[in-house]
Amino acid sequence: MSAVGGALRELLRRPGGVIGVAVVVLLVASAALSLVWTPWPLLHTDIAERWQGPSARHWLGTDQTGRDLFSWLLAGARTTVLVAVGATLVAGLVGVSLAALGSLTPRGVREAVTVLVDLAIAFPVLLIAMLLAATIGGSLTVVVLAVGIGFGFSVARVTRPEIRRVQRSDYVLAARAAGVGRVGMVVQHLVPNVGPTLVVQLSLAASVSVLAEAGLSYLGYGAPSGTPSWGRLLSATQGYIATQPLAVLWPGLTISIATLGLTLLGDALREALDPRLRRSRAASIPTEAAPGAAADAAGADSSTPAPATPSSTVVGEARA
């Protein structure tokens, strides 16, 4: 418990962490609030009031049928939260299973799984979604499964080496010698050591899911019509961009803020949970921070860490 509290304090010490936590709280609060209250009923339309600008009556204005945009954005958070939670769970399940298969099994299986994950990681999430949509029809389930499976490969790729590292560590050897059983080993050593990496990955999966939901709903293969969704709102208003640019502005802005918030949260979590990065920040050694930053940048498509430049010091000296 105190470890979690410490990590949280560490997280809130960073600007990115504060913004990330704020966005997540706001997102969940909006979704919860919209279940009991929205400024206007979602199904309320009024042609006489179409394309209103922002006003006290309609905070963000109305669309072509006079629906209140703020109410729809608020309710759209429900879809976003639902998809993010679902995608994160599936990504965690797929990722941890593959990572376990790639580390805790006999050597032949282990290596086959690792190669498989390396290959599968190249498969873009959007193509997985299209593949599923062609078979079972577009729905939010497709979005959840596609992001979950697609990002699950990334989770596996990043988590597997962590498990291997713990497996080969001296403290595990010592614990085994002291007679700690399999369950004890997982609870005492594996979870605390691999957990942080996993948490970071999952927050990145959530940020990918927000973009994926928006994109797929826009293409017509995500949220079904009538479901409040930011992507659908974007596609519903985009045709009117020439005359009503403001109405197009809001959903895009909301999607961007949610995605950015979750990405920042992932970055801040990485720094807050990794004691090595924490120390390096204090000493401000850029090399230590660099690999983390590189992996963030990959967040959008995959979490593949930036390619390592092996033993560059040696060659560097020769060149210099």
């Binding site: 873009p124 078979t135 940020s207 293409l219 974007l234 895009g252 920042l264 940048a297 210099a320």
Partner: protein
């Protein structure tokens, strides 16, 4: 080197086979009766039987897969279930839009990412951080929305500076290269700006890493400015990691193309895929997805080989 090439080629073939098996399993085996899926709920038994026959569904799944594979090897991607036209031909035609679009987007991305990424690392204390923050924010922007904003800014008939067409592609394709190119500028900017933001952060961290290396410090100590030391000694290393990272953006470029082609109404592979998924033209969908995946895998392999050739450390290690 030869061993490496053979190994990498083997991995590529394994990847393609894996992708083809997955695509086939999801599209042809999972749905149960594929003929029913394609025919839809209103199809008559006779129509279903016709579909079944045209797909060769009476044969077992393994022999169906093998006959698809045999076709692929001969570049025969089968015929559309709806129009009956050869899929390969249409794919080739649409690729004439998607390939230039993604290449242009990559150029835009690199033009943004390389100078700004290096700058944000070199000037880490003076404004470099701001570039990094801006890039992170930009990377979170949905491509569709970026496209809409660009239309608002530069779109003909809509934008503040109405310069560029926002819809469609010349009917006669590349017959009029300047018109075709003009149609691609806004879509390519849309994808390129966002991918550029993603790339920028890789360039930045690679540069930061190079700056901290002993050889850059030594060169600086010998009298070069830090920037000069970085340019002459650090950049070769930065360049290598950027080549690898560029491979990673291929997936992003393809995803961007699927979305942006729909937004800008471009007749490319992405929009073809989206509409075929809607039509449940499974023969086309399976070839299109495999085609796009093959691009990602092949570029990944090529980049690995190039990396190997250029990096003396890896060359020696593998010799």
């Amino acid at each position: 080197m030869l061993r490496f090439l053979i190994g990498r080629l083997g991995l590529l073939v394994a990847g393609l086979l894996l992708a083809s098996v997955l695509v086939f399993l999801v599209l042809r085996v999972l749905p149960g009766d594929v003929a029913q899926v394609i025919g839809g709920t209103n199809a008559t038994p006779a129509q279903i039987a016709a579909i079944r026959e045209s797909l060769g569904l009476d044969a077992g799944p393994v022999s169906q897969y093998l006959s698809w594979l045999a076709g692929l090897v001969r570049f025969d991607l089968g015929d559309s279930l709806i129009t009956g036209t050869p899929v390969g031909e249409e794919l080739g035609q649409k690729f004439q839009v998607t390939l230039p679009l993604t290449l242009l987007a990559l150029v835009v991305g690199l033009v943004i990412a390389l100078p700004l990424g290096v700058l944000s690392a070199v000037r880490a204390e003076r404004g470099g951080g701001a570039i990094n923050v801006a890039a992170q924010a930009l990377a979170a922007v949905p491509a569709l929305w970026a496209g809409l904003l660009l239309i608002l800014l530069l779109g003909r008939g809509v934008g503040l500076v109405p310069l560029l067409p926002t819809q469609g592609f010349p009917r006669d394709g590349w017959a009029d290269p300047s018109a075709a190119l003009a149609a691609l500028v806004l879509p390519a900017l849309t994808i390129g700006v966002i991918e550029g933001a993603v790339l920028l952060r890789f360039v930045r961290s690679a540069t930061l890493e190079a700056l901290a290396q002993d050889y850059v410090r030594t060169a600086a100590a010998k009298g070069l400015t830090r920037t000069r030391a970085l340019l002459t000694h650090g950049l070769p290393n930065v360049g290598l990691s950027i080549i690898s990272v560029t491979a990673l953006t291929v997936a992003g470029l393809i995803t961007g193309a699927v979305l942006v082609e729909s937004l800008f109404n471009l007749p490319g592979v992405g929009r073809m895929l989206v509409s075929d998924v809607g039509n449940r033209d499974l023969v086309k969908v399976q070839s299109e997805i495999l085609f796009l995946t093959a691009i990602v895998l092949v570029i990944g392999a090529v980049v690995d080989v190039v990396h190997r050739v250029l990096d003396p450390r890896l060359r020696e290690a593998g010799a």
